[in-house]
Symmetry: C2
Subunit: 271 residues, 2 copies
């Protein structure tokens, strides 16, 4: 899905909601645990229920790899199921390696003839340009580069004193030359909404993928006020646990839909 | 395998060689391509041939994920095969995410009851302490944290001007407090051997995993001179392409053994 198609979806649904598909058997309702593939059964029902309110879905690969080969099969079924819908798909894999190796990761998560044909993959910037550029060579696909993350540890290096500019700003300033607003986005944690205005100054045209709303406590209106691009949104706001675990009972899908609808309504005021 | 056992292996084999298992169908000899699982068939023969000369094996997950579910099955067979040998096993996965998510990656690559029971996993530091600490909770397992990588892009952030100390030194100074020399190592690219002495000053007791020897052009004697810990080695020197693709013909395993033996002999002078 290209930028124009993504913006059209955002306008049609009046939503820039991304649903994080992070299945955890300990949090999943008992009613799916009897299925052959509980993880996929859970995802499918969450996707069906939230589809009217979400424009993007983001499985985090850790939650699938934790279940080994079985989990990777659940991930394949999930991306295959999502490919039939008109949604933007992000493999939240946070990969990155030396050039010839990153090219293999690009093939793994963005390759059209591979098992995991996502629209985008999240990439970690630590190893620099030649670790990111191979992902940008996949035609029609996207890199979502980590800039400022939503966790406490982001203060260890990303915003640490002693660097001018701070590392997360250097990552933005350097990497914006590697791709374009047509094939690159940035991860910016909502818990740092105060820094969003500064980030928008550095990357005025790029989409920002914003985690940390909901369970992690970020405020949606703050994010919109500081991060929105007029008439294009330029934001994908991700919520995972607050939606997919809104209920741990038989009504989990309905509860997920209700929470997604609540966020969509809040977003609709800004689109 | 703990530090004491690893050092014993190094002394017994007079080698601190780590063989990188990065299978690429385009470089693999035709004679294995007919096998049901060419990747595992290739790895098994490389492992059998190089075992007298190597103390560690490091599959890079990108080369398996690139082949989708089939590739992940090849990776499982490879780690299961390695578990029966007395060698140190590293999943070169360069993972890292927010705390609860890194805990899932730890389970995936270090969990004793999982599909991929490695001794160690490589981790990217960008997201800071809470993205690394969950890996250190796996009993008897190791984190190998990226510090200074061997690729050109390492100059974009790791050694970039404007940071005092440089980012790679800050990563070493900050992260050495997260674990101990019993459960943490660092990736230090051999192509930066000149910086090894400075790195040894910051982490005098930690093992260093050194890629970039061979195909990437680093010099082994330089690395030993600047990085060795007397009587403990404190180094794992990795070579991938120069060993596993020493020959692309039917004699690939013998050629791999010959190149591994050549490096082991060079190392034996330093052990």
């Amino acid at each position: 899905m290209n930028r124009e198609q993504l913006i059209r979806q955002i306008k049609e649904k009046k939503s820039f909601l991304c649903v994080g598909l992070d299945p955890d058997m300990e949090k999943m309702p008992d009613c799916v645990k009897g299925e052959d593939d509980p993880v996929f059964a859970f995802n499918r029902q969450v996707i069906d229920a939230t589809l009217p309110y979400a424009v993007a879905y983001k499985p985090n690969t850790a939650f699938y790899e934790a279940y080994g080969l079985k989990g990777m099969l659940s991930l394949k079924k999930t991306i295959d199921y999502l490919r039939d819908k008109e949604v933007f798909t992000i493999a939240d894999a946070k990969r990155g390696d030396i050039g010839n190796t990153s090219a293999r990761y690009a093939k793994a998560f963005l390759g059209k003839d591979g098992d995991f044909d996502f629209d985008a993959v999240t990439v970690a910037p630590y190893m620099g340009s030649d670790s990111v550029r191979p992902f940008l060579k996949e035609d029609g696909k996207w890199v979502v580069l980590l800039a400022l993350t939503s966790n406490a540890g982001s203060s260890d290096f990303q915003t640490a004193e002693g660097c001018t500019p701070p590392l997360y700003q250097r990552v933005l300033e350097t990497s914006r030359q590697w791709g374009t607003p047509e094939n690159m986005m940035y991860v910016v944690g909502a818990t740092k909404a105060g820094m969003l205005r500064e980030i928008r100054r550095i990357v005025p045209e790029h989409f920002l993928l914003v985690p940390g709303i909901g369970a992690q406590g970020g405020d949606l209106d703050d994010v919109c006020e500081n991060g929105l691009i007029p008439d294009e949104a330029g934001l994908l706001v991700n919520a995972s646990r607050s939606i997919i675990y809104a209920s741990s009972a038989r009504d989990f899908a309905a509860a997920a839909a209700q929470e997604a609808a609540r966020m969509q309504q809040q977003m609709s005021r800004h689109v």
